[in-house]
């Protein structure tokens, strides 16, 4: 209760702050925070202010169950802990849990919590906080984005529907241990996209204990989450300006060295100007062209990090049932040249969506090297009707696609396939491709395929067709379904690697989607910022406590 009142006051304070500075340009008092200042001696060690750029168009709500943008993901990663997190090399590493164990049948996940984690207000982080967070997220009124993952917990559906007061698969073993039991084996349960992950950001029960799940978005805590357990604590958010954080000297993985972090909210052009003028230390998602231009700037490091997404074209398999036609489209396009033009070579060609991690990469797939002659042969074998016009759609404003589409169109025309370009406004695209499928070819990018080969299952299982699931191509292959299920059933890496080899070969041969490449995420990093090791999917904070600023 104390916390809630305090937060309420702060929000009034912030509003007044903006109003005053705006209306009269008055100097106002520096921004303070209400958290108890502790360990003053250690606090002194942390110094400097890190400025990082982020897209301004993010949803200014910090409810971890409704995180919808990369910016929100990063904010939550900074202020909240999870059981485990992902490092640069896509390994799961300890966070709030210091150890975890997966049962041999891949149904039980047991986490041992560390005993020294505390909330920003000094309360200990307990196993009850973990149980509280997952229970809250499983309620229908919370409408948690993680539901797809959480519904796999044994008894979660009954709990969600109100048939049971407890989810049997969520178990408090003892004061330091929590166990999740799944209804069906799935070793990949721990991997997901940033936005639908089974590793939830853990929330403080002592503050949110009696919050109404249906109105979480409006809860004062979700607008100013001042009590987390992460490396930094939330201080302030000023709309379209910045989000401010302060080092948490009691962070369980070590006190951060940098005193404050500001996420400066701005569109990419503005971020670029800020980076070049020295107002920013860190800019995510730089375009390959800007990366190349700034390559030799001594004040900056340009670091491309391998991505985990795949740039690809979904083919409506119901309209193109003959795989020879889909293969012909692969051969018809000079993907290597296209990668050079569109991404300036910043990425790698892929020949299936099974692209990682390291143990799940295979080099014996057909590489579909540019071969228009082969494409014509395949089309002739498939008796392709040359008078047919097919349409290619995408969500307007996707720059890489807009560069690539005319080339694709021209190269397909050369082998006898007439393509009509039909970009759609994003809502209309969503409708045409996902909610009421009616398309021939749909170009898209992103995803987190490289995190774990099982990620592909969501897109190709015959049980996950749109609109209910994510299989936009309506591709169905029983043998592949079985492989995916088998791949989930064992924690043994070698066994899994063999299974996903077959998955990759199948996708490579069937080309339910046309595979292009996985592009790099390019980071612009100030030369005086040390310790940053960009990871996949913008998980950049994973080692933030080790970062340091060296400003002379």
């Amino acid at each position: 209760m104390q916390g809630r009142n305090a937060i309420g006051q702060r929000r009034i304070g912030r509003r007044r702050l903006v109003g005053q500075s705006a209306a009269a340009g008055l100097a106002v008092a520096g921004v303070g925070h209400l958290g108890v200042t502790r360990s003053a001696a250690r606090q002194e060690a942390a110094s400097g202010i890190l400025q990082m750029g982020r897209e301004s168009e993010f949803q200014p709500n910090f409810n971890p169950m409704q995180v919808a943008t990369g910016t929100q993901t990063q904010i939550c990663d900074l202020i909240f802990g999870r059981l485990l997190k992902v490092d640069t090399d896509l390994n799961l590493v300890p966070d709030l849990a210091e150890a975890y164990e997966i049962s041999d049948d891949a149904t039980q996940f047991t986490f041992t919590l560390r005993d020294d984690a505390v909330w920003h207000d000094g309360e200990p982080v307990t196993v009850d906080d973990v149980i509280f967070t997952y229970r809250l997220a499983m309620r229908p009124a919370a409408a948690a984005r993680q539901w797809g993952k959480l519904s796999q917990i044994a008894g979660a559906i009954e709990f969600n529907e109100g048939a049971s007061d407890e989810a049997a698969g969520l178990e408090r073993v003892d004061d330091q241990t929590v166990r999740f039991t799944l209804a069906a084996p799935n070793v990949a349960w721990l991997f997901g996209t940033a936005l639908s992950n089974s590793l939830m950001w853990i929330l403080p029960e002592h503050i949110l204990g009696d919050a109404d799940p249906a109105a979480l978005d409006q809860h004062p805590f979700m607008l100013a989450p001042e009590v987390g357990s992460g490396a930094y604590r939330f201080i302030d958010y000023v709309p379209d300006q910045y989000v401010q954080f302060e080092a948490n000297p009691d962070f369980y993985l070590g006190a951060p060295k940098i005193g404050q972090v500001f996420l400066q909210l701005a569109v990419p052009t503005t971020q670029l100007a800020q980076l070049e003028s020295g107002q920013l230390h860190l800019m995510p998602r730089m375009s390959p062209r800007d990366g190349e231009r700034l390559q030799d700037d001594p004040a900056l490091r340009i670091e491309p990090a391998p991505g985990v997404g795949v740039f690809q074209i979904a083919v409506n398999n119901e309209r193109f049932p003959d795989k020879r036609v889909r293969q012909a489209m692969m051969y018809a396009v000079d993907r290597a040249a296209l990668l050079d033009v569109v991404e300036l070579g910043q990425g790698r060609l892929v020949n299936s969506t099974v692209i990682g991690p390291e143990w799940a990469t295979y080099d014996d797939l057909d590489d579909y090297a540019y071969d228009p002659g082969r494409a014509r042969e395949l089309l002739a074998e498939a008796e392709w009707d040359g008078s047919r016009t097919i349409s290619l759609t995408w969500s307007q404003g996707f720059q890489a696609i807009e560069l690539a589409a005319p080339v694709f169109q021209q190269q397909l025309a050369e082998v006898g396939i007439t393509v009509e370009l039909a970009p759609l406004e994003s809502a209309a695209y969503l409708q045409a491709v996902v909610t009421e499928p009616d398309f021939d070819l749909a170009w898209f990018g992103g995803g987190s395929y490289g995190m774990d080969p099982d990620v592909s299952s969501a897109y190709y299982l015959s049980t996950t067709w749109t609109p209910a699931g994510a299989n936009t191509t309506h591709y169905a292959n029983e043998a592949l379904d079985e492989l995916f299920i088998a791949g989930r059933g064992t924690p043994d890496l070698e066994e899994r690697a063999a299974i996903y080899h077959d998955v990759a070969l199948t996708l490579n041969e069937d080309v339910p989607t046309l595979f292009f490449w996985s592009n790099n995420l390019i980071w612009g990093i100030s030369a005086n910022l040390a310790g940053v090791r960009p990871g996949p999917n913008q998980y950049i904070w994973w080692n933030i406590q080790e970062w340091s600023l060296n400003e002379g």
Binding site: S21, A22, P140, A143, R145, Q218, A427, A458
Partner: protein, 324 residues
């Protein structure tokens, strides 16, 4: 007079209801909804239909549009603009946080535009065909036909990146105490862009209305009476040229609080323009309605203010209004 004002205020109520209802129906007709607007289609597919249903239920989007509009109207009648669907904050608080920065930025720009533009326009009318006239005309056309995004980015490139004279964006230097000087420093570039857009407009209006007035018989009469040129210009000509100018200034008043989207975006100025665009992109119905309500109210108020000012500038209008 007070009856006139009262009548105008009462008419405003149905106008506002009409405007918001129309806007509401239009945004509901557009494809997309707040649940799926802000996520990319791949993510939407991953999240699945079940989540979409739960979220729609949570946000109360399953009622028919008209019912939702009436619920909104009922809230507004009680002085509550509701909550943002994507952000969760009260709409009134969000708008309140933006009005200050917008008023500061646009107010300064409009004021500068008026202070520079109107005297320049009058001068170039008085000295028609002089070098000053030609210069201001050419400069005016140049600035008015330069798109603000181009001008804005050019200024950023030159003054923020090349010469590092001004910050490229924002309202304050982060990590340093807020001061008026710092704020002013941050305002210079965006205000320049906006003022350059307004100055030529006011200048050209001032020039043409002044030219028209100068050809009127009463100016000739005043001169014939032997009045000094300065008195003729200020007392007779300028006063009459004011009326069309009031209209132009009145029409640009709503801008004062509705903001300038492009300039705000380039300079990352947290104003109403950005908020409105954000609301539309996110299909955040309560926020869209809130911004429209505020903007529409301003349009009505500034029209009323302009009408009242006509009376101050020209007694003839006051008299005829009373007769009616």
């Amino acid at each position: 007079m007070s009856q006139f004002v009262l009548r105008r205020v009462l008419i405003a109520v149905p106008v506002l209801i009409g405007v918001t209802l129309l806007a509401y129906l239009l945004v509901n007709l557009a494809p997309g909804d707040p649940v799926t607007a802000m996520i990319d289609p791949a993510t939407r597919a991953e999240l699945g239909q079940e989540w979409v249903e739960q979220r729609r239920e949570q946000l109360g989007l399953n009622d028919p549009p008209l019912v939702r509009y009436l619920l909104w109207l009922q809230q507004v009648a009680q002085g509550n603009l509701g909550y943002s669907l994507v952000g969760g904050q009260p709409v009134a608080e969000q708008i309140g946080a933006r009005i200050g920065p917008t008023a500061l930025l646009m107010g300064t720009a409009l004021l500068l535009g008026g202070v520079i533009g109107i005297p320049l326009g009058i001068l170039s009318a008085i000295r028609q065909h002089s070098i000053l006239d030609y210069l201001t005309t050419v400069a005016g056309f140049l600035t008015v036909s330069t798109p603000s995004f181009f001008l804005g980015l050019s200024l950023v490139y030159l003054f923020a990146i090349r010469w590092r004279a001004f910050p490229s964006s924002g309202m304050r230097t982060l990590g340093e105490p807020e001061t008026a000087t710092d704020l002013a420093h941050h305002m210079i570039l965006p205000v320049t862009v906006l003022a350059l857009a307004h100055t030529p407009l006011l200048m050209r209006y001032a020039r043409s209305t002044m030219l028209e007035v100068l050809r009127q018989d009463y100016v000739t009469t005043a001169r014939a009476k032997g009045l000094r040129e300065r008195i003729v210009m200020i007392g007779h000509a300028f006063r009459n040229a004011l009326i069309p100018l009031i209209t132009v200034v009145g029409l640009s008043l709503p801008e004062l609080l509705s903001g300038a989207v492009i300039t705000e975006t380039i300079f990352q100025w947290p104003g109403m323009g950005m908020l409105a665009v954000r609301a539309v992109n996110a299909r955040d119905y309560p926020l869209i309605l809130g911004t429209i309500l505020v903007t529409a109210t301003l349009v009505l108020l500034s029209n009323l203010a302009a009408d009242l000012l006509y009376g101050v500038a020209d007694p003839r209008i006051r008299v005829s209004a009373r007769r009616r």
